[in-house]
Structure formats: C-alpha cells, structure tokens
C-alpha cells in the first residue's frame, strides 16, 4: 500500500512547498477555530469575575482576530489545495501518456475493450484527489491535533492526556473501523451491482429484440429479482456504514466528559485556575474538527489507491518493440518492402495470426490482399508499421530487417489508412493534417479530392473547419473512411496501405475511388486490403490469405 502511494505521489508530483503551504493553511484554519472557542471560553469565565473591562482587552482582541482569520485561512487553503489538485492532474496525465506512448498498440489492445481506456482516463482523473483528499487531511489532523494537545498540556497535563486519547480514537480507530465495515459491505454490494448493471444494459440495449420476441414480462421479472437482491444487501450495508458517525459522536462526548472531570477535580485540588475550565472544555470540543474529515479521507484514499494500482499495472508494462542501439539510416525510394515467411502470435501458445506468409511491395506496383475476416489482414498492417515483430521470418525494407531502423523512420516510409483508424474530436482539416501538420490547404484539398470526398467537404458551411464530433460521431461510415484515406494520402509516404477503404461505399463509388487512388499513387507502392471485388481488375498482383477458422 505504501509503495503504491509513494509511486502515485511521484507520478502526480507537485512541488513539496505547495503541499506544505496547503497543509499549513489547513492547519491554521482548524487552529484558528479552536482558538476562537478557547479564547471566548476564557473571556467569558474571566469576565464573570467582574474585572475592569480593560483587563479583558487581550481576550477580546484574540476573539476578534480568530473570528476574522479563520475564514481567510480557509479561503486560501481551498484555493491552494485546488491548485495542487490541478497541477497533480496535469502531471499525472502527461506521465501516464508518456508511458502508454512507448507501448506498442497491440499491448494496449490486448483487452480489446474501449472500456479499458475509458477507465484508465477516469482513474487518472481520480488522482487529483490524492493530495487534496488523501494526503492533506491526515497531515492537517496530525498538526492541528498536536497543537491542541500541546496547548492543553501547558494548562493541565491530565486533560491533555484525555484529549490525546480521544483524538487518537476519533482520528484513527473510528475511521479505520468505519472503513473496514464499509469495505466488507461494499465488496458484497459490488457483486450484486455488477450483476444488476449487466442485466440492465442488456435490457436497455436489446429492448427492441426483447419487445419483438415478446420477452417484456420475463425480463422485468428477472430484473426485479436481481434488484431485490441488491436492495437487500444495500440495507445491510447501511447498518454498518451508519456506525461511523455515531461512534465519532460517542468519542467526542466521552472526551468532553473526561476533560471536564479532569478540570473540575484539578480545580477542586487547587491545581487549576477556575477561569481555565471553560477554556479547556471548549478547546477539546472544537479540536475534533481536526479529525472529522478523516473517515471520508480514508475511504477516498482507498479508492484512489485502487485506481492507482490499475494505472500502474498498465504503465508498468515493458514496451514489446524497441529501437535498435545503432539504427541504420532510412532508405530513400525506390525500395521494396517485403514480408518473408513470417509467423506472428499475439500471445504465446495462441494460434498464430499469420504463419508462413510472404509478400512483396515494390515501387509503382498495386498489390491487393484478399481474405476473409480473421485471416490476419490487420496483422499484416501491424507488421508493416512495426507494431508487432514476427516470431519467425522477416519484415524487410530495402532488403534490411525492419528492426534495424528507428520506429519513427519506418512509420515515415509507410502510410496506412487503417480500417479502425481513429478520428479525433477536431476539425476535418486537423484530422487530415495529422501526419503532416504543415501541409497547405491546397494539399489537403488535393488529398480529399483523391479520396473522393472534397465535394462533400466543400459543400459544408465551415468546410475544412467543420468539427467531426467525439470519435467522429458526426461522420457517416463512408465519410469517415475517406477522411482517414485522405490523411494517409497527404503524408506522401513511399508505401501506401489501404485497409478496407470501401467498406461503407456502394459498388460504383467504391470502384471509382480505388481507380482514383491507384492513379494518384504514381510511383508509390500500394497495398489494398479488402474482401470485395473493386480494384481486383486494376491490381498488378493478388495475394490471398487463407482462412483456417471454422465456418
């Protein structure tokens, strides 16, 4: 637990001085609150002895000072700690991104679910609480609690002992108990919740089919059963969770009674001035503010640590692809790229995704790669981009092993319009310019023309500046595929790989598109991956991937 915490603090690193500043301000807030009540208690007791009003001046000034200073300290503390949270978040994002960026895409893809990344992002988000709600409250409790006990000790050591025990109980035992109880309850709850959630997702996502097949009542019955289970468990959990608050009040009461008893008997024995009794009692009562946020903080810290472990799991993976120590200089065209008798596995012991496969891409030639889904077409793309290395055989560029070049150089030589290429939440222009940010508008237009989508882009009110929405949501499948194609065309790499560029197009449009792209490619080598007919007649060479999967 502590190593995870230490590593996370390093990941979301914030200058120590800022944290110290936030903790100091937090401590002052609590101490000023204690000061206000203690001074007020003293003021009233002393006043009851009916001295000259002038002799009360110091106490009066003290009360006013604490009354003004506490809100100010609180305000500054909130600002500082939110600033710390933001800085921590920025730092964590950049560092996590750097680690992820070194990993080859198949390493991130192994879980195969968008959920993984969505969760990663929300896990990283939760790191903002690390300092604000996880680290600061215990430190503040420690500092302010110590100050309260020390102040009490100066006046009456017995009372200080009582207060110290009370604060320890309230600050350590009560939070630990309530978190332990909550954890047991929430573990049981998580299972019931997951079950209900997946039933709900199914019912909502499959509502059309459930209605079409008359399953409405059956489904509702099943859901109600799962729901009742969850409600029952939740009720039991509530019994446990409610104890935290109650315990805290019991501890406060016991401490107050103890401090009062100690003060009263000390006074009776002549060991304590009577004007200090009220002060000690009110000080004790007010000092529990220091430990009040701890149960919540502990819970928060637990959740943040769990999120942190998931992040570290991912960022600790070693990159499967590395640059050579002494890279060769990238070749200049014309050159040939070849796969020679390669075998690829994504995981040891798994069926090879490709086995004994060979293929050559020569300048100016148009190669069409045919094969059913699952036959390893996307693996060919991963090999060419060096997202994965073959277990046997070679990928060569200009006759040299792809592993002897820098990855960045390889990817400059090969442009891929991937079927699952990502469209960013940005404008059409920015998405096309991804590989060449400095391309002129005319060049972008030309690329879009070759992808046969310029007419549509030009007809939009904002043209190239049109935003495509989150993950390109505003685009149809065909539009999206053609923007991805234009992006690859714009790079003008010597090797162009087109992965199912016509999946969403009707046959005549698809045929014209292939014709245009083949013509625009000129001296470049082009690999067209498809399971359709278009372009077959224009190919210089056909490569067929065999499908071993059962039908």
């Amino acid at each position: 637990m502590t190593t995870t915490l230490r590593r996370l603090l390093a990941l979301a690193e914030v200058p120590r001085a800022r944290i110290a500043f936030a903790v100091t301000l937090g401590t002052l807030t609590v101490v000023f609150g204690i000061g206000l009540m203690a001074t007020a208690g003293y003021l009233i007791s002393r006043a009851a002895e009916r001295p000259a009003v002038l002799s009360l001046t110091v106490a009066i000034v003290g009360v006013r000072f604490f009354g003004l200073a506490r809100p100010l300290a609180r305000y500054l503390e909130r600002l500082t700690s939110h600033d710390v949270a933001f800085r921590a978040l920025t730092r964590a994002r950049v560092r996590v991104y750097r680690r992820l960026e070194r990993l080859a895409p198949p390493q991130l893809d192994s879980e195969r679910r968008g959920d993984l990344l969505t969760r990663l992002v929300s896990d990283v988000d939760s790191l903002q609480n690390l300092h604000l709600r996880g680290l600061a409250p215990p430190l503040v409790a420690l500092c302010a609690g110590t100050a309260a006990v020390a102040a009490t000790a100066v006046v009456l050591p017995e009372a200080a002992l009582v207060l110290a025990v009370g604060l320890l109980l309230g600050g350590v035992v009560v939070p630990a108990t309530s978190v332990a109880l909550a954890r047991r309850a929430s573990r049981r709850r998580a299972g019931a919740r997951g079950e209900l959630a997946s039933e709900l997702v199914e019912s909502l996502a499959g509502s059309e089919e459930l209605a079409a097949f008359g399953q409405e009542s059956d489904r509702l019955r099943r859901l109600r059963a799962a729901d009742r289970r969850l409600v029952r468990i939740s009720r039991r959990a509530a019994l446990a969770d409610g104890t935290g608050d109650g315990l805290r009040l019991l501890v406060v009461g016991a401490t107050l009674v103890g401090v009062l008893a100690a003060s009263v008997s000390a006074h009776a024995n002549g060991g304590l001035n009577r004007v200090l009794i009220a002060m000690l009692a009110l000080l004790a009562l007010a000092s529990f503010e220091a430990v009040q946020p701890l149960p919540e903080a502990l819970r928060e810290l637990g959740a943040t640590l769990a999120a942190g472990r998931r992040i570290l799991d991912l960022t600790d993976r070693e990159p499967s692809i590395c640059d050579p120590a002494l890279p060769l200089t990238a070749p200049t065209p014309p050159f040939t790229v070849a796969l020679e008798n390669v075998r690829v596995r994504y995981a040891p012991r798994e069926r090879p995704a490709l086995d004994g496969f060979s293929m050559r891409l020569e300048p100016g030639r148009r190669v069409v790669l045919l094969g059913p889904s699952g036959a390893g077409k996307s693996t060919v793309v991963n090999l060419l981009l060096r997202f994965i290395d073959p277990e046997r055989g070679y990928v060569t560029i200009d006759g040299r092993d792809i592993r002897s070049f820098r990855q960045a150089d390889v990817r400059r030589l090969i442009a891929v319009a991937a079927q699952d290429a990502y469209v960013f939440s940005a404008s059409i222009g920015e998405n096309v310019r991804l590989g060449r940010p400095d391309a002129s508008d005319a060049e972008v237009e030309q690329a879009l023309r070759s992808a046969r989508i310029w007419g549509w882009v030009a007809s939009l009110p904002h043209g190239l500046d049109t935003l495509v929405g989150e993950q390109g949501r505003e685009l149809s499948g065909g539009q999206r595929q053609r923007i991805v194609l234009a992006r690859a065309l714009l790079v003008e790499a010597p090797v162009l790989v087109l992965d199912e560029p016509t999946a969403h197009l009707d046959p005549p449009t698809a045929a014209r598109l292939i014709e245009d792209v083949f013509a625009a490619a000129g001296d470049r080598a082009v690999l067209l991956i498809t399971h359709r007919d278009e372009g077959l007649d224009l190919a210089d060479e056909l490569v067929v991937l065999r499908d071993d999967a059962p039908v």
Partner: protein, 557 residues
Amino acid sequence: MRALDQRLLRRAKPVRLLLAADAALGVAASVLVLVQATLLAAIVADAFSGASLGDVLPKLELLALTFAGRAVLAWAFEIGGRRAASSVLSELRLALVDRRLHDQPSALDGAEAGEVAASAVQGVEALESYFARYLPQLVLAVTVPLAVLLWVGTIDPVSAGLMLLTLPLVPVFMWLIGRYTQERTREHWQALRLLSTHFLDVVRGLPTLRAFNRGEAQTAAISAVSERYRRTTMATLRVGFLSGTVLELAATLGVALVAVTVGVRLADGDLGLQAGLTVLVLAPELYLPLRQLAAQFHASADGLAVAERMFSLLDGPAVVPRGGRLIAPTPAEAPVRLEDVSFAYPGRAPLVLNHFDLELVPGETVALVGPSGSGKTTVAKLLLRFADPTTGCISVGGVDLTECRPELWRQRIGWVPQHPTLFHGTVADNIRLGDARASEQRVHDAAVLAGADRFIEKLPVGYQTIVGDGGRPLSAGERRRIAVARAFVRDAQLVILDEPTADLDRRSAEVIAEAVERLRIGRTVLLIAHRPELAERADRVVAIGEGGTAVAWSDGL
C-alpha cells in the same frame, strides 16, 4: 431544480416516510443540542463556584447520555436516508426498463444503454448522499437555529436579538451559495470534464498517432491544454469560493460578536456565568447546520442530476400506445400494406420516410433496396411497431395496425436485425428467444436450417456455450446465424431480415444467403439489402431513394 426536488420527494412512499422520520429526528437532535449546551455550561459554572467532582458527577453522566443520544440519531439519519435512496432508485430503475420495453423499445443504442444503466446502478451513491446527508441537513438547518434562538431568547434576550440580527443574512448567503457557487463550480466541473474528454480522445487515438509519428508531439498538447484550464478555472474559483468564505465569516464573526458582548455584560454584572456560557456554546450551533448544508450542496446536485437523467428518460409520450383492441389477421393469409407512410423521429425535423408505399403479398419475398440512410431499417421498425407512422397507415388485411395489440402482432413476426443482440446465456437460450418453449430438437433443427449448427458444434460445449456479455465472443456472421435460427424456431409467418450479409466475408455471406433461401419457403419475407446479390433472389424488388421516397428499381444501384 426545485421542481425536481419536489418530484423526487413525491415519487415514492419510502421518501414520504423518510421525510416524516427526518423531521422527528431533527426536532430530537435540536433538543439534544440545547441540553448538551446547558449541561456543559452548568458543569463549568458549578465548578467555577467551587463544586467538587462528586457534585457535578450526575450532570457529567447526563452529558455523556446526551452524546449517546446524538450518536443514535446520527446513525438513524444515515440508515433512513440510505434505505430511502436504494428504494427510490430501485423503483426508478424498474420503471425505466418497463417503459423502454413496453412504450419505447427503439430508442437507445448500446453506448447510451451502458451509460443509462451505469447511472441507474452507480447513481445510488449520489442519491444516498442526497437522502442521507443533504435532506437531514436541510431539516437540521431549520430546526436547530430555530431551537437555539428560542432557547437563547428565554435565557438572554439581548444575545438572542444579536443572533437575530446576523441571521437574516443567512437566507442571503443561501441564495448566494445557490446561485454563485453552483454556477462557478459547475464551470469547474465542466472544465474537468472537458479535460478528461480531451485526454480520453488522445489515449484512444494513440495507435493512430503512433502510426503517423505524432505520439510524442501530443505530450506538449496535453500539458498545454491542462495548464490553460488550470489557469482559467483557478480564476473562476477565486470568485467561486468567496460565497463560502462570506458564510463562514458571518458564522465566526457572529460567535465573536456574541462572545464579546456577553463578556462585557458579564463584567458589568448584567448576566450570570451559566447563562453566558450556554449562549456562547450555542452560538456556533446557530450557523453550523447552515454551513454544513452548503457543504452538502454538491452531493445534492449530483444526486439530483442522477434523478433528473432518470426522469428525463421516463418522460415523453409513449411511442407505441399500449393496448389496442383488435387482433391483427395473420400475414400468412392477408397482405400487409404500407400506404402513403411518412415518418419522422419525434423532435427531429427531416422525414426518414416520405409517402412510402409497399405491399407484402402472403408467401412472397420482397427485397427492399436503397442507399444507406434511406429509411430501410425504419420500414422494419414500423412493421414491428417499435413506432407508428407519423402520417399514412400500415394495415394487415385492411385492419389498421395501430388498432391492434402490439405484442400479439409481434408474435407473428420473425426479425433478424442487422446487429443482433446476444443475451447473456447459452447459445440454446439465445435461439429460444424465438420461442421459449422450443424443445432441444427444435432448437437444433433451427440451427441446422440457419447454417449455424456447424460453428455451434465446434464451440467447446456446443449449444451450452455461454455467450453475450462476459461470455464467448462471436463474430458478426455467427451472431446473424443465431438470429436467423431464432426466426426459424419462431416459425413466424412474416420474416424481416435487415442487411443479413452486410460487412460479412464471402463465405459467411453465402451461408446466410442459403439459410435465407430455406427460410422463405412458405413464409412472407421482407429482405432489406443494399447490395444486389441477395436482392436478385427475391420475387420482387422495391427500391427506396434518398429521403425515404419510393423510386424505380434499376440494376445499376
């Protein structure tokens, strides 16, 4: 927001019970606060005038009891609130699914369903905060200040007057908090959300970024965007936190003011020590519940947001009215006609279908072809009565479908959607969706006819293999074959197939096409396609153009 509050509170009996209980607990808690302050002051005053520990012991015991009482009340508040929260959410969840299935089957896509389900389950935490923290605090914010004022009024009217003077500021602060903090912090949350959306976008696109050598360049972008948001958000927070500070200032200055005045009057001999101490101990209690209410504001806002989302899904008119008196004739004997049918999604202007006509004669196979977005799937959904035409009429043997009971009509239809859903369960269970009572033999026969048998037998435990969420993943072609098997097992008179071969490789497409050949024997079939191969086998081809109007069929489509 207030309206929603009331809606949520009106929603259910458990909530009304909770409110009554909270009110009672609130009164009890206020009384205990007064007792506690009075006892504390009395003990100190007794000791001040020389009492020994033995003299004050009974009062100390009472004080301890008071705290025990407060502990029990706090516990009760929490449990009551949590119970109410889980009951309310449970009720909302079931209402939501009931409504989807019966009134609006066709409205959510998978991603949305996931999000809705998540808030319907996880949202309970936000609602728990609302019921277990915010509502009790709301009660206490009324009862405790009132009790304190009344009590202080009886022991020291001057202090009560002072408190009254500072108290009218409180509604102003509450208003300030309501408006200011809410708006400012909303900006804060929005900034955080935007940032995390940006980060998610970059992380999701990482393979593409790397393919184009742009991976490293994004580091600077992430840092720059975050930094920019930090600066603008901090600027808004500087103002946003002011209202809380002002409220706190009122509280501490109020206490200071009471303390100083009481002190001066004690020195003048106008007041006794016990009365003065009681007033001092009670002074912070006047403001504390209000400040805590402000602190719970976020919790309440999150809880209400969950409720709001659920209510918005529950709202809106039923797309398909329940009931209907007639039983539709069977499509095996009577023709199904779409006459002059137009359809637009509620709240969205463009017509998906525009004066569209179609007739399905018993026993024939009609192919419906057209470019994507022309409304082919909408025709299927109207036939299944997931929605009713905006204008025009769908009839079976002359009986208007809207007059018929939807569930009985759907019993006659077999539907193979373009993206069939596999429900968590065995392959056999999934085929049985077509007919829950089908025997093992019939399930097996249906699978054979659908061309699904061969791949099912190759699964580790055949028909007993668990599929769906968390089960074995199946390819698009395999899923469709299971959906076709559903249609066979249902033995429906009318079968609607929506793009059964789209995006499949040639071999999978051929298997499906053969299954469709077997399926059309003795049934009326509507075959939706945008590729010509399948359409060629139909008895008749109907083409639909862009904008949902019928057009003449030409081979060149």
